[in-house]
Chain length 352, copies 2
């Protein structure tokens, strides 16, 4: 198996911790190891033959530096010269597979999955279906009427470990519809994690995104690698497209494997209390020193190792980095993205 | 005139900025110069013959360092070996006056008075009354029913610039009583600022606190100074007593000069917006870098020069120092003192 980790995201909703050069997946958002490091370590029990981490040029150096301690498996960092969404990246990884029938697991670098064992078990089941020529997507069993995720619908009554044929992919729903999905029982969260054989995804790219495939076919791949000049030419010529819209929503080979492990795409600061242990009052403190919380509930503090004293506050997010301090209520964490945009408008590039 | 600045306070309600070794008066609570430096600079137009700053041993070095730039007037820092409240300190300063008829102005180091001109004018009027043998206390015309200050009552109908004989000193009142004081018109805030002649206060000490006076009389003062060994013996032997309870509330020579300059004893973080310019939404930012405030009202941020982003918060105090971070609502700022006590109980002495 080859693991392909998509790691080029910027994660502006984790500002001020995440920055252009050190986005969410490279930061210790959870304390300790970065999300990228956790993502790589999570797959090591599967003994993949190689791990490809696809990122952009700004982040490539830090990405490689963070992974140099991984010695069990060869880790390659591929720096895209320009971002072209996920289809070209996924296609490139497939094109670099030495054995065309190699199974690829495509994983975002910035998801939180605490239960490694369960996760690996699901990937093994996914790999089995992928080996039979399927495009496998992992669907997370929903546990609340979440409006922040897309959904995957399978046939009503689908039971057991799958794989299930996919009826359709559904965009992020309104609250009421999310509630209907939850009670219907045949809707799953679209996790953005995929498995397929290299030759199968290339075949599907040829069918649904022929230009991307043509660019890939023209690459002079030797021993599973390509020179950076060729990479540059490929990216300069290819159109941006997501693998979801470009292939998954069109292909008739798509199946879903249901997964019930704890999962979060950690879309903003407010998602962290879901995936980290909170104290009895629902407070989560990351990277702080001693703390003294008085009459304080539901707060998330990400600090620079300092003593933290909170007195009489509720549902606040407080983030402190060496050059910035953010305070906002938990239910407005999505708007942090807007702060980053405003900083950009004001020309305060040093904080981006 | 001699200026005596009482500077030994700890100001725990300004934690985490104020610490045992660097209390409120030594910190840049207002941004820029410290409150002590501002207090000293405020009296320079009066051309005093000397300025005595009375503090404790822990703070003496920093106190002296902060004032070494003052060249217009000799500044002496007197380090009390132990704290004995204000009566011994004030008596010592009087004993060190070379000319017994010198007028002393006794001023706390940690009050905010933005209007220097008005302040100096009031001190000149106070000095005139002091020259006639009075113990002069400055009473601030109240502008709200403040429950955090003591009050001074003068005869009903007292009008003009004073001095007025003092009817009585009143402890911090309950809210309703504070309202009555405000509407009565003959009650003033007790500022803790005094003027008197050195010989007069010594005379009053002899009458009301004879033991303090005896200790002072035994000091071998030469040319307005005393050796530190003598100081140690005096402090070891003397009982702690405040000049307010020990002398002012008992003497029949007390008069009050009314003052209407803006004044605050800046008892906690929540007092700062009273004395500093706030933006249109009532936010005050001190020692911060760029800032981006969205839907944010009535907040006070004291930062380490960082970019500050507040989103959707109201009436919060946020203080960040190199080793600590405090967040609390403005109306609970008084409780910060309790945080310091709790840190002490937990043995976290490095944060005190």
């Amino acid at each position: 198996m080859i693991i392909v980790i998509l790691a080029g995201g910027s994660g502006t909703r984790f500002w001020p911790l995440s920055r252009v050069r050190s986005p969410k997946q490279l930061m210790s958002v959870l304390g300790g190891k970065s999300m990228l490091q956790r993502t790589v370590e999570r797959v090591l029990p599967l003994q993949p033959e190689r791990i490809m981490v696809i990122t952009n040029r700004l982040q490539a150096e830090e990405t490689a530096a963070q992974l140099c301690y991984i010695t069990e498996v060869p880790v390659e960092v591929i720096a895209e010269p320009v971002g072209r969404n996920t289809a070209p990246a996924v296609g490139l990884a497939a094109r670099l597979a030495v054995n065309p029938e190699t199974i690829m697991a495509v994983l975002p670098a910035d998801h939180v999955i605490p239960d490694q064992e369960n996760f690996c078990e699901v990937l093994r089941r996914g790999a089995a279906a992928a080996g039979e020529g399927r495009l496998v997507t992992l669907g997370i069993t929903p546990i609340r009427p979440e409006t922040g995720y897309g959904y995957i619908e399978v046939a009503a009554g689908s039971a057991g470990p799958g794989p299930f044929p996919v009826s359709r992919f559904v965009e992020k729903p309104e609250r009421e519809r999310a509630g209907e999905f939850l009670s219907a029982g045949n809707f799953y969260w679209n996790s953005g994690m995929f498995l397929w054989r290299a030759d199968v995804i290339l075949d599907e790219l040829q069918r649904h995104l022929p230009e991307v495939h043509a660019g890939l076919a023209a690459l002079d791949v030797r021993d599973g690698h390509v020179i950076s000049k060729a990479l540059e030419a490929f990216y300069a010529g290819v159109k941006g497209e997501s693998i979801d819209f470009g292939v998954m929503e069109k292909s008739d080979r798509v199946v879903m494997i249901p997964a019930s492990f704890g999962w979060s795409d950690v879309g903003s600061w407010s998602a962290l209390p879901e995936v980290l242990d909170a104290d009895a009052a629902g407070n989560v403190l990351i990277n702080t020193g001693d703390h003294l919380l008085t009459d304080t509930e539901g707060c998330l503090v990400y600090g620079g190792g300092k003593l933290v004293a909170l007195l009489g506050v509720k549902d606040l997010i407080v983030v402190e980095t060496p050059d910035a301090l953010l305070v906002c209520p938990r239910d407005r964490a999505q708007e942090v993205k807007g702060i980053v945009e405003e900083l950009d408008r004001r020309g305060l590039g040093e904080y981006l």
